[in-house]
């Protein structure tokens, strides 16, 4: 047996076999270090994703490429490190094009799961909306380059029977993507192909016909967190303050009204809530103009045209607190699928070249009275300052109201793992 050494993680002495991987040792001892490219027995470790960044003997670095040795001092849960790891996951979301609600891997995706674990409600980075292709050419697989985080797992692990690589990085820098070898891919057995899909921590490798095989609720990361104490402690209701009536305004910009639907989806609780809040400007009341200042403004949808921007700015001026509700409002969401394509191409596809259009009569509508489409869909936070974000597509009703009650009456709350979702 290998020599035992003592290391310290966040001040706690820990015994481990010399040379073991630090991520593994931490996990065995109840310390959660996020990881995406790492998996056991991979030697040398890949060290690509950087989500496991900790401080080792005073220097920041990824835990997964550290072998434990005597006296090693490791910091895991210092605030700056927690935030740094969070930011790296956020970077993956802003760099790729991740539309969870329409993703086959949603619920089974390691990236999405890590973001839940780290309670990421929005990314601090602007989404880059880089145009990427989807490669349907191979026999059994679809390469969805928008979702790949370049973790290298498939490159190293998926080989055909004669030992040749099926996947390989192409290009470099921000143009890097993972190419697939059609010839080698065709040689994979069904099991090998499925293994490739499973090895991928995101929805980048999809085996045709093997998607959506599990319904919601049965997917790997649907119900419970892999951390012991995800979220806060049990709810402590502090109804100390008087629950005086508050004024709420809502708007749906470039959204689908799904978030508004969700807002109403609280069954009989709605009756209690009506006692406590008065809706001012909102599609729910059909009040078109602000009658007075509001305590809180809730925005569904991002900004797709100039009118959206005007409305949003008015909300900012008239509301004390402004909340982005749902993915579209937070970063663009599904309408932002057009962001990788120039506006002109979108319009021509929709109004001129589409199948059902009569070419003789088709024009692209333009009139001073109709709102002007923006070059791309903008996140609300690119237009005004947003105070809070509630993720989901749509967010669950309980999540919404817990958050709003907290904002309005400082009611403490805790979000269950199963309530925090991007889809």
């Amino acid at each position: 047996m290998a020599k035992m050494v003592t290391i310290e993680i966040d001040g706690l002495p820990i015994q481990a076999e010399e040379g073991q991987n630090l991520v593994y040792v931490a996990k065995e001892n109840g310390f959660f270090i996020p990881s995406l490219c790492y998996y056991e027995n991979m030697d040398p470790p890949l060290g690509t994703c950087r989500t496991c960044t900790c401080r080792i003997n005073g220097k920041p670095g990824p835990a997964c490429i550290e072998k434990v040795r005597e006296g090693m001092q490791v910091e895991v849960n210092k605030a700056d490190l927690v935030d740094m790891r969070k930011s790296i996951i956020e970077m993956m979301f802003s760099e790729g094009n991740h539309f969870c609600p329409s993703c086959e891997k949603s619920g089974n995706c390691d990236l999405q799961h890590m973001a839940y674990e780290l309670e990421i409600s929005h990314t601090r980075f602007p989404h880059l909306f880089k145009d990427r292709l989807i490669d349907y050419n191979s026999k059994r697989m679809v390469m969805e380059h928008n979702r790949c985080i370049k973790c290298r797992r498939c490159v190293e692990e998926v080989l055909s029977d004669d030992g040749k690589r099926v996947f390989m990085y192409m290009n470099r820098g921000n143009e890097t993507y993972v190419g697939i070898d059609y010839e080698q891919e065709a040689k994979l057995s069904k099991e090998q192909a499925l293994n490739a899909m499973n090895i991928c921590p995101t929805g980048a490798i999809i085996v045709k016909g093997k998607i959506f095989s599990k319904p919601f609720g049965q997917r790997a990361f649907d119900l419970s967190s892999s951390q012991k104490n995800y979220g806060k402690k049990p709810i402590k209701l502090s109804r100390g303050a008087v629950m005086e009536k508050k004024i709420v305004a809502t708007a749906s910009l470039a959204g689908c009204f799904g978030c508004h639907m969700s807002l109403l989806d609280v069954d009989t609780d709605l009756l209690d809530l009506i006692e406590l809040v008065e809706f001012n400007k909102s599609p729910l009341t059909d009040i078109k103009k602000f009658a007075h200042r509001c305590h809180i403004g809730i925005i569904e949808g991002g900004c797709s045209n100039d009118e959206n921007i005007e409305v949003l700015r008015e909300f900012r001026e008239k509301c004390d607190i402004l909340v982005s509700l749902g993915e579209c409002s937070i970063w663009g969401g599904l309408p932002a699928m057009r962001n990788t394509v120039p506006l002109g191409e979108c319009l021509e596809e929709a109004y001129l070249n589409s199948f059902t259009n009569d070419p003789a009569k088709s024009t692209i509508p333009y009139h001073e009275d109709i709102p002007k489409l923006l070059n791309r869909v903008f996140a609300c936070s690119e237009i005004v300052k947003i105070d809070y974000y509630i993720p989901g597509c749509p967010p669950s009703a309980s999540h919404i109201w817990k958050a709003i009650k907290n904002l309005l009456w400082h009611e403490e709350y805790s979000i269950l793992y199963s309530e925090f979702k991007y889809d």
């Binding site: 790296i88 990085y169 921000n174 080698q184 921007i309 900012r316 001026e317």
Partner: protein, 590 residues
């Protein structure tokens, strides 16, 4: 095409190490790497097609589409921009009929831009079929293209870039004095490897590639490895924009480089040496190879060198194919093995498992030259130059807004002000030291010394080799954007913070350039840059945000002036350019 000396492998090297050469040769003879060639090579090397294609697409001198019979790479680095890149570009486009980034209709010329080609002292410069053409202007471009159209070969009409050695120390030059060939070897061979390590320790020689790692430690660690197969590798990738000292050393001091490597082999017990020469310096390869062959003829390379029984040392050149990151030592190893130049993790060090997983010393050109000079002229001669704690001299490539761009061999301890005066920089404002990944300084700091000391206290400046001067007319944000763009392209793309981070920083700089940034944006840049520094996998990502972080500190007022300022904006409303945002749609107004 001439003999580059790169067309051989040692008997201990696997065929795969030859892949980059094969690809370069195909590129040069056929103008691109076709699907057929990829399949053919995949069969030959018994790998899948994607694996070969992955290598091809990594290097920017290897193309998947035809590039024309003559390939022009015009340097688009900042120094080139300052000296008139735009007009030269237009003139190339006009004369060749090819737009930048494409091939003309007749398939004669391919025109591409490329970052710094190591000729910052004679910009604008371009490589045509990898032969240098310097100090370009519209008329010169016209003449060159006309001659080529009339059948002249770029090899025959190219320029011979001057060394431009502008300054050597009054007390005598270390690097550029007459080099008496073989003396350093005779002196070194009198000592045991252990004694050589001791000499190097006393010299305090530290890596000249920019990291300043003590050379003796690296050599000693490799010496102590038990393997019988070890390698000595010279890092001649010199990709840091603004740096051209290694070019001049290879051109004028190849003998000292070769001898430095032989001494390395003797010390570490290695019998093979490889010089990894950046693709841009192909025009230096033939000359360097001639020097190497001369050493073979003199019995100073090959078997039983200098009569030293049992000491064999072979040397060859390996050409790169265009990738800045391959200057990072572990990326360089991958590249030499015929792979994509992706840096390795620090799981093993090169001194333990380097090239082909064997113990390997990797040093910069200047480091090897310095070793040879120490043994040629003696340790005392070297140590009496410089300042206590930082003995010797340093070669600095000066370029940008100054009248005398070129090579300055300074004694450690010279101040920035003195160096700027020597270079006749009349209106220095923003000085970039050690290239984009280095440190920027303002004129408030002009009395800082250049030495290896006090790095942490930031009193002295450690300079890896370049000093780029920008005058007060230059747009600082533009400079920094250009740097971010460079890193965005040159990142190997394998780790998240660098691949995405440089892109994100570039976006923020765009915002700043468009006058839409707020204080919060500056705060974001600072914070994101620090994330990149702390979490990137290799030196590229870790150092890429250096200049922006420092510039924001040192030129705070300048940045403040570039922010969005207005009095009548409601709090919480973010600056936004509506006109730009609806510009696409407005095209449909009839």
């Amino acid at each position: 095409m001439h003999q580059s000396g790169a067309d051989r492998l040692f008997e201990v090297e696997p065929l795969r190490s030859y892949l980059l050469n094969v690809l370069r040769n195909i590129q040069m003879s056929e103008g691109y790497i076709s699907d057929e060639k990829i399949s053919l090579l995949a069969k030959k090397y018994d790998v899948s097609n994607v694996e070969v294609e992955g290598v091809v697409t990594f290097y920017h001198f290897l193309h998947r589409k035809p590039t024309g019979r003559h390939v022009i790479y015009l340097n688009n680095s900042l120094t080139s921009v300052i000296k008139g890149y735009e007009r030269v570009k237009e003139s190339f486009e006009r004369e060749t009929g090819a737009l930048m980034g494409s091939v003309d209709r007749t398939g004669t010329f391919g025109l591409f831009s490329t970052p710094c080609i190591g000729l910052s002292d004679q910009e604008p410069a371009a490589l045509i079929d990898f032969y240098p053409f310097i100090n370009l202007n519209a008329i010169k471009v016209k003449d060159i293209i006309n001659s080529i159209k009339q059948g002249a070969s770029p090899a025959d009409i190219c320029d011979y870039p001057a060394d431009n050695i502008r300054y050597t120390p009054i007390s005598g030059s270390v690097f550029f004095s007459d080099f008496k060939e073989g003396i350093s070897l005779v002196n070194a061979f009198k000592l045991s490897p252990q004694e050589i390590i001791e000499e190097l320790k006393k010299s305090q020689l530290a890596g000249r590639g920019g990291a300043f790692f003590p050379t003796w430690m690296k050599w000693d660690a490799t010496r102590k490895q038990e393997s019988t197969l070890k390698f000595i590798i010279c890092n001649a990738d010199e990709g840091e924009p603004g740096t051209f000292k290694d070019r001049v050393l290879i051109n004028s001091q190849a003998a000292s480089l070769i001898e430095g490597m032989i001494i390395g082999g003797y010390t570490a017990g290695a019998s093979y040496g490889i010089i990894y020469l950046r693709g841009e310096y192909f025009w230096l390869a033939e000359k360097l190879n001639t020097r190497i062959q001369a050493y073979y003829q003199k019995g100073l390379l090959g078997k039983t060198i200098g009569g030293k029984d049992g000491f064999n040392f072979d040397l060859r050149i390996q050409m790169g194919a265009g990738a800045y990151v391959c200057g990072e030592e572990t990326a360089l190893l991958e590249s030499m093995e015929g792979k994509r130049g992706e840096p390795r993790t620090k799981w093993f060090l090169p001194v333990e498992k380097g090239y082909l997983q064997m113990p390997t010393i990797i040093n910069n050109v200047e480091t090897f030259c310095a070793v040879a000079r120490i043994f040629e002229k003696g340790l005392d001669n070297y140590c009496e130059k410089g300042i206590p704690g930082s003995p010797g001299t340093k070669i600095i490539s000066v370029s940008g807004d100054c009248s005398l761009p070129g090579i300055y061999e300074i004694e450690w301890g010279m101040t920035v002000a003195e160096l700027l005066e020597l270079g006749e920089a009349n209106d220095p404002y923003f000085i970039q030291v050690s290239g984009p990944s280095g440190e920027c300084i303002s004129m408030k700091e002009k009395y800082r010394r250049i030495s290896m000391l006090d790095l942490l206290a930031r009193k002295d400046i450690r300079c890896g080799g370049a000093l780029t001067v920008y005058n007060s007319q230059r747009d600082l944000i533009m400079i920094l954007s250009k740097y971010a763009e460079f890193f965005k392209h040159e990142s190997c793309g394998i780790c998240t913070p660098c691949r995405a981070g440089n892109y994100l920083i570039e976006r923020k700089l765009d915002k700043l350039r468009n006058g839409l940034a707020s204080r919060e944006d500056l705060e974001n840049i600072r914070s994101w840059a620090n994330i990149m520094k702390a979490s990137s996998r290799c030196g590229l990502g870790k150092t890429a945000p250096n200049s922006i972080i420092l510039a924001m500190e040192k030129f705070a007022e300048y940045f403040y002036k570039r922010l969005y300022h207005t009095d009548n904006q409601h709090e919480g409303i973010v600056a936004f350019d509506m006109e730009a945002a609806i510009s696409d749609y407005e095209k449909y107004k009839n």
